[in-house]
């Protein structure tokens, strides 16, 4: 599903965020990406989202080299990827329902399907009773669940999460991880970047450890 070969990302002349990374993630796999701050976890996810291009090496997703995608193809590729961030990235002026529902809308999904799918994912994350609430009225855990619902509403083949529990307490973190496990159980490939080793231990999945931009351990 995700293959990298000698993947490097260089900032400036000598600051390597990633250096010669060769990893693979199988279809339907759940992988943790861990390491200290500045290890290159977020850079790896940005490359996977095609927000940035590699300085060297190859990054392929389902056999497609992301570096060679044209701008129209980038947008099409991103429609197959769901993302979740530490800071939730919800739109404050939109309600819970609108934050999730605007994705199928702008992707041209017919109106009837938009509302059905939006309600379905919000019910799945347990927020069917907060449809008309605004993000500011929600707890951190609830906001992250809205972000997860938004990532899932388009039925992606991969879900990427960058420190999704970074702003949450341990109980809520586990609750969010349970959601990711369920997403994965439905066949979606999940890549979660986190530095929370206790959480990784409790969830218990394959872990790729990065340090100074290089893979130092795979378990």
């Amino acid at each position: 599903m995700i293959e990298t070969e000698g993947l490097s990302r260089l900032y400036g002349r000598s600051a390597y965020a990633l250096r010669d990374v060769t990893v693979s993630v199988a279809k339907g796999e759940f992988v943790f990406l861990t390491g200290p701050s500045g290890a290159g976890k977020s850079t790896f996810l940005r490359l996977l989202l095609r927000e940035e291009l590699p300085s060297a090496g190859r990054l392929t997703v389902q056999g497609r080299n992301l570096a060679t995608l044209a701008s129209g193809q980038v947008q099409a590729y991103r429609r197959s990827v769901g993302f979740v961030f530490q800071d939730f990235k919800l739109i404050p002026r939109k309600t819970v329902y609108e934050n999730v529902g605007f994705v199928p809308r702008i992707l041209g999904v017919p109106a009837a399907q938009q509302s059905r799918r939006t309600f379905q994912v919000l019910k799945w994350v347990g927020l069917q009773h907060r449809l008309n609430a605004f993000p500011a009225e929600l707890s951190g855990g609830e906001q992250q669940r809205v972000a997860i619902a938004r990532a899932l509403v388009n039925d992606p083949m991969i879900v990427l999460a960058d420190e999704p529990t970074g702003n949450l307490d341990p109980d809520l973190s586990l609750e969010i991880m349970t959601l990711f496990r369920e997403i994965n159980a439905a066949g979606t490939t999940v890549v979660v970047a986190t530095h929370d080793r206790e959480l990784i231990r409790r969830v218990g999945r394959r872990t790729i450890t990065l340090d100074h931009g290089q893979v130092v351990e795979t378990r």
């Binding site: 947008q75 991103r78 429609r79 990235k89 002026r93 329902y97 702008i106 009837a112 059905r116």
Partner: protein, 310 residues
């Protein structure tokens, strides 16, 4: 819970859906940033008001000058004691030129009568004269307002050299000069409006850029979920277009109000001076063009701002 769908209604096409989304987002953004948007609307209103004002004034003056041109006469003043051969030669020259639609002979006596009628205050002075000082003349009505000016100049020069002709007066010379001055004024107006329009487009671009900055997180999310570019940039372009349209409509309304006030105050004077059909507001086609122009200016401003989003 099926809040977005409307059962029984046909699903619109992708372009209509994108436009619907862009319009909804643009209207919401206009309301949210109403203070900054007001600034953009005011600059467009100012630019379009100035442009519309110049067009109104110059089109009215042009109509008056055209009317005067149509009524302009070509007067051939004749020497006293003109022989019948000389008169025939003059008539022949006018007929052969093909420029004269009709002509009227004004005798010396008739010229005096006209003078007394047109200038009653001076009539007593004219009565004291022993000899009638007014020359006989031929008042020539020209064929149309669009006759070749060079041909008229040539005819006037030839007639002036003909025996029996004292002078040739050609009204259109000064009307042409007036028309040239008016064109200059019109171009100056258009140039000034051009500067104002450019300033308006820049203001719109900056206001839209501000809206883009406010919504940068939203734009980022849209980019990350793979939204088509029409959905990402569209709302900003529509926002600029709406600002332009509203500004131009406001300019037309203000111009109409100003025009109405001017006509109420100076209308009678204008009718006396320029004629019965003087003082007309911009034709509807020009008004529509001004509104469309305002929308184009706003659209360009919005597009310039939205171009930074990739």
């Amino acid at each position: 819970m099926d809040r977005l769908s409307k059962p029984g209604r046909a699903e619109p096409g992708p372009i209509v859906r994108a436009l619907q989304y862009d319009l909804e987002e643009a209207l919401a953004s206009l309301w949210r940033g109403r203070r900054a948007n007001l600034l953009a609307v005011i600059t467009i209103t100012t630019a379009m008001f100035v442009l519309g004002g110049f067009l109104t004034v110059t089109s009215n003056l042009r109509q008056v000058v055209t009317r005067w041109s149509a009524a302009a006469e070509f007067s051939v003043f004749l020497r006293d004691g003109l022989s019948s051969q000389q008169r025939s030669a003059i008539d022949r020259m006018l007929d052969q030129s093909g420029l004269a639609a009709s002509r009227e002979y004004i005798s010396k006596a008739e010229a005096l009568v006209r003078f007394k009628r047109d200038f009653p205050d001076l009539a007593t002075g004219a009565e004291g004269l022993q000899d009638n000082p007014f020359p006989a003349s031929l008042e020539v009505r020209l064929r149309s307002a669009a006759v070749d000016r060079r041909a008229l100049e040539t005819l006037a020069a030839r007639l002036a050299k003909t025996d029996g002709v004292a002078d040739v007066r050609y009204d259109r010379r000064w009307l042409d000069r007036l028309m040239a001055i008016m064109s200059l004024v019109q171009w100056a107006g258009i140039a000034l409006s051009g500067v104002l329009v450019a300033a308006a487009a820049l203001t719109v671009a900056n206001v839209v850029r501000l809206a883009l900055y406010v919504r940068r997180d939203e734009v980022e999310i849209m980019q990350l979920v793979g939204a088509p570019i029409a959905y990402i940039r569209g709302p900003f372009v529509v926002e600029g277009t709406l600002q332009g349209g509203v500004g131009a409509v406001l300019a037309i309304v203000l111009l109409a109000l100003a025009f109405g006030a001017m006509r109420a105050r100076y209308g009678t004077l204008a009718v006396g001076f320029f004629g019965p059909s003087s003082l007309e507001f911009l034709p509807i086609q020009v008004s529509v063009l001004l509104v469309l122009g305002g929308m184009v200016v706003g659209c360009v401003g919005g597009w310039v701002a939205a171009r930074s989003v990739r």
